[in-house]
Symmetry: C2
Subunit: 227 residues, 2 copies
DNA sequence: GGCGTGCCTGGAACATCGTTCCAGACGTAG
DNA sequence: CTACGTCTGGAACGATGTTCCAGGCACGCC
């Protein structure tokens, strides 16, 4: 009988950190944030909850790893031949699209900035801010301003997709909110009522970019010869 | 014996929604987000968990009510005689200070925008954006840009105070992060290393306001005669 | 005065979660 | 063949949000 020594356990596959993280991502994508359970994860991997803890310290680390696994590739582009503005826009869009594809990432990014994924974003933004000619003393302010805006939108997108019931479409949800807005008290909420229509029609992505541009305009306008 | 008819139950006080909410705020302030438990809350009110559910539908509503109770008074000022910029700054500072005093509010605001507290902020910001002379088509973008920035900072403040161990001071925490930054790989994280010093010295409040000003500059610069 | 009715209480119980524990299977080195 | 360290997975623990329900209390009606 041939030696079966080289088989990697005769189980299907030997359960590794990578397999766990990718199963977690799949679970999060299909069942949402609340669906990531060590028991559900164990079932998906045909094992028990205890086995997972051998490869991962806990849920916090697992979520961080899952987030990094999704965001890292999304922001990996080169800014070689692009204006600083274009590079920042591209970077911001990378984050946006990652969240759009995996809504749970929004919550996670907002909760765990200063960790690998967002730290990478911060570094990339900072370099472009430098390239923009912002004086050194103002670079931190400019970069973290952009970061905070991005994180704010991240959280909002997460909220919007979480609030919407699983079945309903995103446009239905916006429609519902817009309708609620237009029924607010005309005295107390004059402005909100007024822009309810714009909320209904607006394009998330475009609006997001417009916000980025607003900040970029502010940054460049302030640090120019005669501003 | 005098009639004891008019006494409001001879228990201490008859347990009302207000009493529950204010106990929840007190609990959140002392023990943090994770400390708000229906059991702990019941003990504080010398009752059982079940009684609370008669006045409040669940934890979500309780958190929302607690947040509103803290934020509503914090943003209740009149913008009568102030420039739009000043009014927006004052409003933003109101939110900031509320979060500073009650860190759990940050998480909550970021999670539940489009609800009473943040809706009020949105309305107030919107009016000032109007007063700024922003054309109608761009008002929604400007107002939600500001909102998203505020919500981003809200989330970050919450993260910063949550991450820091209960005992450590905030400056210690910043110091630790700054040190970690300055020990990053010089090639991969040149910019981040560079601004580590600014992170250590920076004033949260001032930095926050600077971000607001950046966006305000962007808004006004864009919508001016020859922009 | 009795007495039912409905608001409100609070303790027990349930389902589920993150996490820990541990007996044992597996492959490898001696 | 045996001993050991790696890895498994099911059971069990403590805590949580929530539901259930038997009972207490004040008030309105006879």
């Amino acid at each position: 009988m041939a030696t079966r020594t080289r088989r990697p356990r005769q189980r299907q596959e030997p359960l590794s950190r990578e397999r766990i993280v990718s199963a977690a991502v799949a679970l999060l994508d299909t069942v949402g944030e609340g669906g990531l359970t060590f028991r559900a994860l164990a079932e998906r991997l045909t094992t028990g909850p205890g086995a997972i803890y051998w490869h991962v310290t806990g849920k916090t680390e697992l979520l961080a790893a899952a987030t990094d696994a999704v965001v890292a590739p999304a922001i990996a582009g080169d800014d070689a031949d692009a204006t600083p503005q274009e590079a920042i826009r591209a970077l911001a869009l990378g984050v946006f699209d990652a969240i759009d594809a995996h809504p749970w990432v929004g919550t996670q990014l907002a909760r765990a900035s200063w960790q690998p994924p967002m730290l990478r974003v911060f570094e990339r933004i900072g370099r472009q801010v430098q390239a923009l000619g912002v004086p050194e003393a103002a670079q931190f302010t400019a970069a973290s301003g952009l970061m905070n805006y991005i994180l704010g939108v991240a959280g909002q997108n997460a909220v919007n997709t979480r609030t919407a019931e699983p079945g309903t479409d995103r446009t239905e949800f916006l429609d519902a909110v817009a309708t609620a807005w237009s029924e607010l008290d005309p005295d107390q909420y004059a402005f909100t009522r007024n822009v309810a229509g714009q909320l209904r029609e607006h394009d998330d992505r475009a609006e997001y970019l417009a916000g980025i541009d607003l900040i970029l305009t502010g940054i460049t306008a302030r640090h120019r010869a005669s501003g």
